[in-house]
Amino acid sequence: MSGSAVVSLSNVTKAFGGGVTALQSIDLEVQPGEFVSLIGPSGCGKSTLLRIVGDLVEPTSGDVVVNGKSARQARLDREYGIVFQDSVLYDWRTVSKNIGLPLELLGWDRSKRADRVREMLELVELQGFGDHRPWQLSGGMQQRVSIARALSFSPALLLMDEPFGALDEMTRERLNAEVLRIWARSRSTVLFVTHSIPEAVFLSTRVVVMSRRPGRIAAIVDVDLAQPRGADTREDARFFELVTEVRDRLREGGLDADRTAPGEGELVVGGETP
């Protein structure tokens, strides 16, 4: 089976200095075209797991296979598009030049690059903003530029690390819908880290619930909501059932948001339950 998986993790463990085990015995497979969310409280190692898949952090032990090769080889083969919580745009480049940065590094010629950048601006609905500077855009628009940059070279795997965590709720919901539209159009495989239960349920085909100390996979919830999803999905009874289920799984892991200490309370446990 693992031959066809985009990501295959077996027995991945990560220990930091001082005896802190960030991740313990993680097994996970992500199939092509899947949208998998990692959810859990801060300190559960979800971002670390994403960074291990992207070869930005080395696991202490265990195997990471991406498209049949090592994470490192996959990185060298430019299989990853990464979106961070902050857009990480270069402010000395225009929006277009930011989107075209990976293409420059891949050695695409100017006209091919310009064509692709135009397509990408269209995909994230930022036509007419190509010559703007990043700081002239709103936070939501900056994050769309960052998504366009990540998708510009059609990577096999899109890694998103709390991409909408810093945005307000309205912008976040709009971008959630946009990400689904882009995902459907680009047919990419997505690994998505979030601390918002509604966001995870709305976006994903599967939600991986993690617990902390040490970071483990507590449960995997299959999200069987119909595609394509839209504003109606959030009103769907099944949506609320799944939100409740994810929350219950988080609780079972000893992760009741109510018991999360203030200041750590980054866990958004579905404010929209009926």
């Binding site: 930005l56 083969d77 430019r78 961070f84 902050d86 990480v88 402010d91 000395w92 590094l105």
Partner: protein, 299 residues
């Protein structure tokens, strides 16, 4: 239609704004200049009227020539039947400017390259940085004769004398550039490095597409210090090289005739200061053109 109108309106507004801020700036400059001149003349008048003495210092034509005498001296012949002082100083300033400009460029390039090298290797940084710092604690007056004595015979005839002075000027300018380049290159946001890593970008690409553009505001901050310093370095370098054609030579010359004509030396200092300011403003102009960063990156 409405959009076009806004776009036009928006493009027009900054122009008017720019003219206004420029006018305010020029006005401010002139006001400060007038204020400083007033202080100079006012202090002298006060000291002369009250017979004020500060130790051996006494305000008079020799210690504090009138501003109008200093400026007026520029338009007097520099010697009997000779050209006007301003013409002499203009030629001297051009000569010194050549030395300083070449020195600044050499110093900036060397300083930048050294900064890149030190940023690249922590080992080199720990090993070399103390010597880089030590190089600046040696007085330039001690280094300058060595450069001239050792360097001059080895230079091709076209570069002789002024080339050695340019090297002295470079010696005085590379240090801030090295320190700030190092600082700028190593202070990039770690996530931007992660991003480049995820694209499997080469060391070279990370340097030119990320680190150097991110370091440019730091480098220009250093160049603003280095630019006037390069003029000082050139003037000082002219002394042991016994170069008569530059401002250093002029200062030495008018120093000897200070008793008979104090305003000449003051006028020469004025021209030297103007040259330093010109260098500074050139760097500021280059920064405006080259550094395209978010507004918070400009001082």
């Amino acid at each position: 239609m409405a959009y076009a109108a806004t776009a036009r309106g928006r493009s027009k507004l900054p122009d008017a704004e720019r003219v206004r801020t420029a006018a305010v700036r020029v006005g401010l400059f002139l006001a400060v200049l007038a204020g400083l001149s007033g202080l100079w003349e006012g202090f002298r008048a006060f000291a002369e009227a009250t017979g004020l003495r500060l130790g051996l210092f006494e305000a008079n034509d020799r210690t504090m020539p009138h501003i109008h005498d200093i400026v007026g001296q520029l338009f007097e012949p520099s010697r009997r039947n000779g050209p006007l002082l301003i013409d002499v100083l203009w030629d001297a300033a051009l000569f010194t400017a050549k030395e300083a400009a070449v020195g600044l460029v050499l110093g900036a390039l060397f300083g930048f390259a050294l900064g890149v090298l030190l940023a690249h290797s922590g080992l080199l940084q720990r090993g070399l940085l103390p010597y880089v710092v030590a190089s600046q604690t040696v007085p330039i007056l001690a280094v300058a004769p060595m450069v001239v004595v050792w360097g001059n015979p080895r230079l091709p005839p076209g570069l002789r004398d002024w080339g050695a002075v340019a090297v002295i000027s470079a010696y005085l300018t590379f240090f801030p550039v090295t320190i700030n380049t190092l600082r700028g290159l190593t202070s990039v946001d770690p996530r931007t490095i992660d991003l480049m890593r995820s694209y499997a970008a080469s060391w070279w690409s990370v340097l030119w597409k990320l680190r150097v553009p991110a370091a440019l505001p730091f480098i220009f901050a250093a160049l603003k210090i280095a630019a006037p310093a390069s003029v000082v370095g050139a003037i000082i370098g002219e002394l042991p090289a016994s170069i008569q054609s530059g401002l250093g030579g002029a200062i030495l010359n008018f120093n000897q005739y200070y008793i008979t004509s104090p305003p000449s030396l003051w006028a020469t200092n004025l021209i030297a200061a103007l040259l330093g300011i010109t260098f500074f403003l050139t760097v500021v102009a280059a920064e405006r053109v080259l550094v395209r960063r978010a507004p918070e990156h400009f001082a």
